[in-house]
Each structure stands twice: as structure tokens, then as C-alpha cells.
Amino acid sequence: MSAAHGEIRLIVNGSKCDGRGICALVIPERISLDVWGYANVDPSALEDARSIARARRAVRACPAQALTLTGDPREIRRLVSLRRSK
């Protein structure tokens, strides 16, 4: 029923996405745009802190609030801050 079992994934709500395309500029390795301009998101789990940080930026950048990052928010913050401290 729920995808979130701790795994960190970037997911798009297809009914909210209206094809602005900003996300694909922020995280092109994870999001491509289809022929109509809608976000096509790689559903596999995000593992490295770098892509998790980018995914979080993409979530915040979406004007339609169509993107979600699944997983434990504290764990996400921890991973992102680890990267910064390096």
C-alpha cells in the first residue's frame, strides 16, 4: 500500500504535474520530460547524498508541488548535512 519503507525515492503526482519542467533542470539524471513536457521520474531509490540533496531541491522548486521525497525526513536531513560537512 505504501512505498515508504525507509527508502528514499523521488515520486511525482501525475495529477498535479503541469509540465513546467523546472525539475528536469535541477535533477536531469533523475527526471526527463516527455514529448508533452510532463516529468518522467526515475522511481528507483536514491542512495548518495548528492542526488538526495538535488532531489530535495527539485521538490522545493516545483511550482505545482507535484514532487515528493519519500523516506524518513530526519534521515534525509542527516544524509544531506553529512555531505555539506565533508
Binding site: N13, G37, P43
Partner: protein, 448 residues
Amino acid sequence: MTIVDFDEARRQRTGALSLVAAPRLVLAGETGARLLAGPPAREGRESLESHRARLGSVNFEDLDPVQLRATVRESGLLGRGGGGFPTATKFDVAAQSPGTPIIVVNASEGEPASRKDQTLLELRPHVVLDGAQFAAAAVRAADIVIYTHATHAAANESLRAALAEREPSSVRIRLVNAPDTYIAGETSAVVSYLDGRGAIPSRGVIPAARVGIGQRPTIVNNVETLAHLALIARRGAAWFAEVGAPEAPGSSLLTLVGAVREPGLVVEVVGPTTLGEVLEVYGGLRAAPRAVLLGGYEGSWIPGEDAWRTPVERHRLARLGISLGCGVVAVIGEEMCGLAQTARLVAWLASQSAGQCGPCIFGLPSLSEQFDAVVAGRARKSDVRKLRELATSVRGRGACGHPTGVVTLVESALDTFTSELKNHLRGEVCAAVSGAGGFPLPEGEDPR
């Protein structure tokens, strides 16, 4: 029909010597039937009196919810609406979530080719209603909502008559007509509709069993799933799992449509069998057809020769990438063109989009248009490649499984009807689309 008769019938048709006496396939009222045990179909709806004489009366409200949920878990029952989700998990989630749960009997059966839920409601409404009472008792629900399909008059009439026969229960029961659309039966669409919005699917991260109608835990169960529960309540989890595979226990209902002896016939699978056996014994087929569409209109085409040997077992089919879905077995007639038939279904399915996700709004009409071009002999090889690319780009998109289901239909048609495809690419256009052996669509909605 007795066990011996069944094997005799099979021996006459196949010439094979069968040493196994246990039935594998049965109709309503035949020996070995489980869901469809009781009087034969011609007798119609089973009365409460007959139902109780046959299965005994159970006062579900007196039973221990924890024990009921343990029984469901032990049975290994998987949902029969098509998704195959473990029923026990829904129950456990609902029981552990705040608020008084609601049970939804999903009787919408929006798949035009499927008749199994209607058949259960028409012949064994009390088995279904007992299952709903079991579900309500297992999670201490206060409400049962029966979500019916407005145009399934016989099923609804039977349901009403059955409800009138039953004693009042402390659980409130109400009937709600589902909108007459393909996607109205999808769990999130059901919850959305019953919560006062449109019957539109959503991709929620929170399951309905936790937060559903009016923020209350909501268990949406298919009619067949609930009917199994009524039998599990009486005969136990071990009895239930005596048939079927450990990965997908219990008997299953199939609906046969298209070029078969009796389109719309519902058969119960109670032992190991193949699609060939199903089509031979109850479809009236003597040899493998050109192809079979398995799992409904968003299912997969399988070449007839392959289908003939294919076991009717959900988990084994799943390993082949095929879903038995809601159990529809649709046979394409000899005089029909599988591509033309698929184009007709794709056009209808495209019209059934909820209109909320871009890849569905734009993707499905494009798929339909490009598939039509192939069928009309207006396409070249490169166009087929483009059609496949388009299909790939739509797969997995959107808030529900609708676009992906259409892609499965399109891709499996292109893989299965290869010789027909060559003919169409050469500009040899065929005419046969509907008529005898055609696949059913809701009245007035046939796009051809």
C-alpha cells in the same frame, strides 16, 4: 454434474486417461464448487433460508476481532479485484489506525468483460454479505457501504432482495451507485467518490486502510474477496488453502468471453488446470484459438498455442509478466482481427481517462490514433517503432494504473499479432471488428 461426469467429459474430449478424480473446474452448483457451491445457476438467487441450511448461521458480531484477523492472515487470501493485495494487511492497518473503520464492498465491476462479481451477487448474495459482516467484525467497523454498478440491474436487484431478508444488524449498511466508468472501481477512486468528490484515482502515499472516507480507516474489498471470507469464517484457513498454490491460495473465478460457447460464463477454478482445459471444457473450443486476452482489457494478449498450455495460477503467470487480473479470459474469433479488436478497445479505454494526468490525457489518444493508423493500413514499419516508443514513454506514468494498462494491451497486441501486423503494413485492411465473438463494451459506448 458429479466428479465422475467431469472426468468422463474430459476423457471424451481429449482422449486422455485421467486418474485424478478431484474436479479442477466447476460451474455453480457442481460438485467441488466453493464460492459457487449450492443450487445451480438456473435457480437464480439463493435465499437466506437455503444459504443458512447449507452453510449455517454465524453471528459475526460475537466473534473476537483479533482471532478473525489471525484467521485471515493464516488463510493467505489475496484481493480478487485484480491487484492481488494481501487482505490481512488491509485489516491489520485499519485495526491499528485511529477512527472507526468503514468496510466498502466494491461491487462496481467496471471491467466490461468481467461477470464474476455480478454472478456472485446474482446467485450468492448472502455469501458476499456474510463476508462483509466478517470484515466489519474483524476491524469493529460501524458501517458497510456497498458500492454497486448502476447498470448491473440483476445484481443490484438480488442484493436488495437479500438485504431485505436479513435481520437488522448493528452495522449500518447502505448502497451507493458507482459512476458508470472504467476507473470508478479503483480503490482510491472509490474512496474519493464516497468521500463526496469525483470517482477519480489519486496516488496517495497514505493507504485508504489508514485514512479513507471522512478520515476514517477504509477497507475496500472486492466482492469475490469477501465471498471467500464468508467461507473461511466457516471452514477455516486450512480448508481455504487446500486448493490453489501456497503463493496464491484458494479457488478463483474466471469469466469467459469472446469466441466461446457461452460468452459471460463464470467458472470456478478449484484445482490445477490450464487455460487450454478451461477453453476446451467450458469454452467449447476444440483447438487453440489465434490468441487469448488475459486479465481484462488492460491485460495481456497471449498467442493461442502458448495460452493453451498456460497454467491458471496467478503467481506462475506473474513470473511470465502476465496478470490474471480480475480473471477475464477473452478469446479472439477466427474471423476477427486481433489488431482491429485491440484498436477498438484502446479507443474506448482512452475515452475512460479521468483527465487529470498529462501522460494519460495526451498519451492515450495518441496511442489510439497511431494504433488506428496501423489498422487502417496507413502506417509503415517506422510508424510502428514510433508507436512502441510512445507506449514505452507512457508506461508507469500517471496517478493510477490506467495508462500502464493500456500500454500493456498495445504492446502485447503488437507482440502477438505479428502476421496480422505485416498484412496491415502492406495495406491489406481487414474489416472484422465487432459482431459475433466481439468483446463486450458498455451499451452506447462502442467507438466503432
